[in-house]
């Protein structure tokens, strides 16, 4: 049996004696006797550290590690610098609790304050929270910020990631509100349809940028329509793209949310990820979740604290703006380290390379017979193509250690990040051409 209990059998006897008991059983005298488990749990016997390491390593080995990943769709394979891995692994950052005692937690609080600032810089917004669970829940929580007594409907573009749409629908189911989908046209939001759907009961419109198909939406035009219709504008932006792309603030967004996984978090079969939420000063008090603020201490020195806690569940209970308690603090720290290590130039370079490599791949693939772009608008690092003999092609790529684009209804959704090198991209095209010959 493995155990992390330090006390020896003798010490346990001593402690029992100190409280006037002789057996562990007596500690549970309040539990109805027939409820006590009378046989051991039906799980395996415990094991030593080396044995469990073997078991889990064997499980990990059952997964196939692809050397090159050309699939995005909400999980992006970027280069993670070594320092971005080592900082969050430091034992204090890793094993600390929520920084409720500011006098002992300035390290955590300051790192969150810095993260908040960086998110504001990326999005152009005035205030960010300390994070929420992921981009999908960030979109759902943003929905709740916009609702009021008269306006309870949220419009969501059909070009949004299906998991995000489904999560927003679920949160709306919770509060009894409606989500309506704005149709797409040629892989982008149908602006004419949006205009018609902006009725007086609409609280907000959400669009993903770049969208699920990788297409760049006409975000400013959509925003203008939304505000004309009296609703609020929520944008869900890719944070790497934001290094060079027009900010949600510049596009007129009221709330900026998104999936922060590309900022130094491994794809790890879907989690843990990172939801960022930022907004204008006007909407600050509607933001859910923790926010770190700056103040001074009793000696007049600069200090950081959890602030504006009157929004939160531990104060307002059923009147809280959200039930969120734990967030993704260590992931936010990771993102902060990533943005500090890469800096503005590094991030712009990563974004430019994503853009360039995706366009290189798209161009080369479309030279293969039967392969063409399904949506022809401007794109960032993802694009959809037709692909004859889809299964055969993807299989051939996988044999070479390459995970190709994702089969979706409209075709195959490819992604290229700064990690993809020209040699591999050329190989991909060669294999595709071979199969399709």
């Amino acid at each position: 049996m493995g155990s992390y209990v330090p006390s020896t059998q003798e010490q346990r006897k001593e402690m029992l004696a100190a409280i006037g008991l002789t057996s562990f059983k007596e500690l549970y005298k309040d539990v109805p006797a027939d409820m006590l488990l009378d046989k051991p749990l039906d799980i395996p016997e415990g094991m030593s550290e080396s044995e469990l390491a073997k078991v889990l390593s064997k499980m990990a080995d059952k997964n196939r590690i692809f050397k090159t990943i050309l699939r995005g769709a909400g999980a992006y394979d970027h280069y993670i610098p070594s320092i971005v891995k080592s900082v969050p692994a430091k034992e204090e950052f890793l094993t600390a609790y929520t920084p409720y005692q500011a006098e002992m937690s300035q390290g955590v609080l300051q790192s969150i304050f810095e993260y908040q600032t960086m998110i504001c810089e990326l999005t152009g917004m005035d205030v960010s929270n300390a994070s929420v669970y992921d981009g999908a829940t960030a979109a759902a929580e943003a929905m709740a910020m916009c609702r009021n007594r008269k306006r309870t409907v949220t419009l969501v573009s059909a070009t949004t990631h299906p998991d995000v749409i489904n999560t927003m629908k679920t949160y709306a189911f919770g509060t009894g509100d409606e989500v309506r989908i704005v149709p797409a046209r040629d892989g982008k939001t149908d602006a004419a349809a949006l205009k018609e759907m902006l009725t007086e009961d609409v609280a907000a419109f959400y669009v993903q940028q770049p969208n699920f198909y990788g297409q760049l939406e006409d975000a400013e035009e959509l925003g203008a329509l939304v505000h004309e219709g009296g609703a609020m504008y929520i944008m869900g932006c890719n944070p790497i793209a934001l290094a060079i792309m027009k900010t949600p603030f510049e596009c007129g967004a009221d709330i900026a949310v998104g999936e922060g996984q590309p900022l130094g978090l491994p794809i790890s079969y879907g989690g843990p990820y990172l939801g960022y939420m930022a907004t204008t000063e006007k909407n600050m008090r509607k933001l859910p979740g923790r926010i770190v603020g700056e103040t001074v201490d009793s000696k007049g020195e600069r200090a950081y604290v959890l602030s504006l806690q009157a929004r939160e569940q531990h104060i307002r209970r059923e009147k809280a703006s959200s039930n969120i308690c734990s967030n993704e603090a260590l992931c936010a720290l990771t993102a902060g380290v990533y943005m500090s290590a890469m800096g503005p130039d590094g991030m712009a370079e990563a974004a430019k390379q994503c853009l360039s490599k995706a366009h290189y791949l798209a161009g080369a693939l479309c030279a293969a017979p039967g392969v063409e772009l399904v949506f022809k608008g401007d794109f960032f690092h993802e694009f959809v193509t037709t692909l004859p003999k889809q299964d055969e092609v993807l299989c051939a790529l996988e044999k070479e250690g390459i995970l190709g684009g994702l089969p979706i209804r409209e075709g195959v959704l490819w992604c290229a990040t700064e990690k993809a090198d020209k040699e591999t991209l050329d190989k991909v095209v060669e294999i595709v051409k071979e199969v399709l010959a």
Partner: protein, 467 residues
């Protein structure tokens, strides 16, 4: 200490990614941002030293005793970190073909199976990313259940006033009206108060057992029976599972759905406030309502987060459960309870427990009389503990005890640590009699003095700005 932005020097950078080996493509002008984001410009040594300095201003459970009641700050095993860092887990795309992700699904299935056995449930999801997120999911199971029965009348969720704030907040997020019931003088559910609010409008009850004052409610079977009789369902808040895992199962207490905090009971690290994982389990009649991912599993189910949840956190919890096994799980629970009772006994005679009886894995001290005598509050005691290098216990929770300090040592503390902690509490007691003013101004030797939280709320400064 300087902020990372204050250490920035224009032109400093690292070379972290290679040169672009394909023709450069530019974003069309209409999509280009006007000014670059003002992120710090640093060399790697600057980054390394900045975060080292920050790290020195953080206290983790692997640094020292952390008796935060309701948080289960137990030791976070290092092997769990190594398992979660295996490339065979970190490098896996959630939408890779099934043959390529067998290992991930095995992790989720095995962890789900173990947790079902530990909790007495039939089905499990790991999609929720935290305890509160798990509560949201669990209450949505109840909501879907009543909807499927065509029962529109069930609009209320009952929550005892001892509940964690997330419980009523969750019920509200799920569109329910919250009915708060007062606790009995012994801290447990007042059966008469419960009976008075049960009716055809009862959707369910949310309950923690042992409860938030660290007591196992001996009427639990009657409580769940009454709710079921009224047509409602029972939701178990698993925050306190560490007291009873392997000893008793929530499924045997009459609960229909539960959440467990993997970052509490199952030893995964708290990370300064996440990532956690709120595994949600339920009896088979609710299994069809569990959340899924539209991308991974298709449409037709609720969904609370993208993909399958905080997968790497589940890896850590699985490593922990494999290590402890069938004997280690109840051993952890028993020793958590022993340690709490031992510590409570050692402190008694100075500070008084709110309930003078055998506790479960945590206990609450009531400092209201002490405050009347000395003028020193629970807050003052907590802040003074910081000067002794001890992380303070939970303050002012649960709301049903005044001037509360809640301590949960967990099973991974040694007798020596508990004896030292008790000694420090005795010092606090003596200090309050000698020099209360010193305690009003504590801490004196910490990273900062007491921060002005009122100023922070009145004049919010939530980001750094270049002057």
């Amino acid at each position: 200490m300087k902020l990372v932005f204050e250490k920035s020097v224009a032109g400093r950078k690292s070379q972290l990614i290679g040169k672009c080996d394909v023709p450069e493509v530019k974003l069309p002008e209409k999509f280009v941002r006007k000014t670059a984001p003002d992120l710090p410009q640093l060399a790697e040594v600057d980054v390394a030293r900045h975060y080292s300095a920050l790290n020195r201003r953080v206290h983790g459970v692997n640094s020292g005793f952390y008796p935060l009641g309701s948080c289960t700050m137990k030791y976070n095993p290092r092997v769990d970190e190594d398992m979660a860092a295996l490339p065979g887990f970190t490098g896996i795309h959630p939408l890779a073909p099934k043959y390529a992700t067998e290992g991930c699904r095995e992790v989720l299935e095995m962890a789900g199976d173990f947790l079902c056995k530990i909790s007495g449930m039939d089905a499990m999801t790991f999609q929720p990313a935290a305890g509160a997120h798990g509560e949201f999911t669990g209450v949505l199971l109840i909501k879907q259940y009543h909807k499927s029965r065509g029962d529109e009348a069930r609009t209320k969720i009952i929550v005892p006033d001892s509940a964690h704030g997330t419980n009523p907040a969750t019920a509200a997020m799920c569109g329910f009206e919250v009915v708060n019931i007062p606790s009995a003088p012994n801290g447990c559910v007042d059966l008469e108060a419960l009976k008075a609010v049960l009716g055809p409008d009862t959707a369910g009850l949310m309950l923690t057992n042992p409860n938030t004052v660290g007591i196992f409610d001996e009427n639990i079977l009657e409580i769940t029976r009454l709710v079921h009789e009224a047509g409602g369902l029972c939701y178990y808040d698993g925050a306190n599972l560490n007291a009873v895992m392997g000893i008793v199962r929530p499924g045997d207490m009459g609960f229909d759905c539960i959440h467990m905090n993997l970052h509490k009971t199952f030893g995964t690290p708290h990370g300064g406030g996440g990532p956690g994982a709120g595994a949600v389990g339920c009896k088979s009649f609710l299994a069809g309502f569990l959340p899924k991912s539209a991308m991974m599993d298709g449409e037709g189910h609720i969904q609370v987060r993208s993909f399958a949840g905080n997968f790497l956190v589940v890896v850590k919890a699985l490593a922990y459960i494999l290590c402890l096994g069938k004997e280690g799980i109840p051993e952890a629970a028993e020793n958590a309870v022993l340690n709490a009772n031992y510590l409570m006994k050692q402190i008694k005679g100075t500070f008084e427990p709110a309930f003078d009886r055998i506790c479960m894995h945590e206990f609450v001290l009531d400092l209201s009389e002490f405050k009347k005598e000395t003028g020193v509050s629970a807050l003052d005691v907590a802040k003074s503990l910081i000067d002794y290098g001890m992380h303070p216990p939970t303050m002012y929770f649960p709301l049903i005890v005044h001037e509360a300090l809640m301590l949960e040592p967990t099973e991974t503390e040694s007798k020596e640590t508990l004896d030292e902690a008790a000694e420090i509490f005795r010092k606090m007691y003596a200090l309050a009699k000698e020099d209360p003013q010193y305690m009003h101004e504590a801490p004196h030797n910490a990273q900062i003095g007491r921060p002005d939280e009122v100023l922070a709320a009145r004049k919010p400064v939530v980001r750094w700005k270049k002057q």
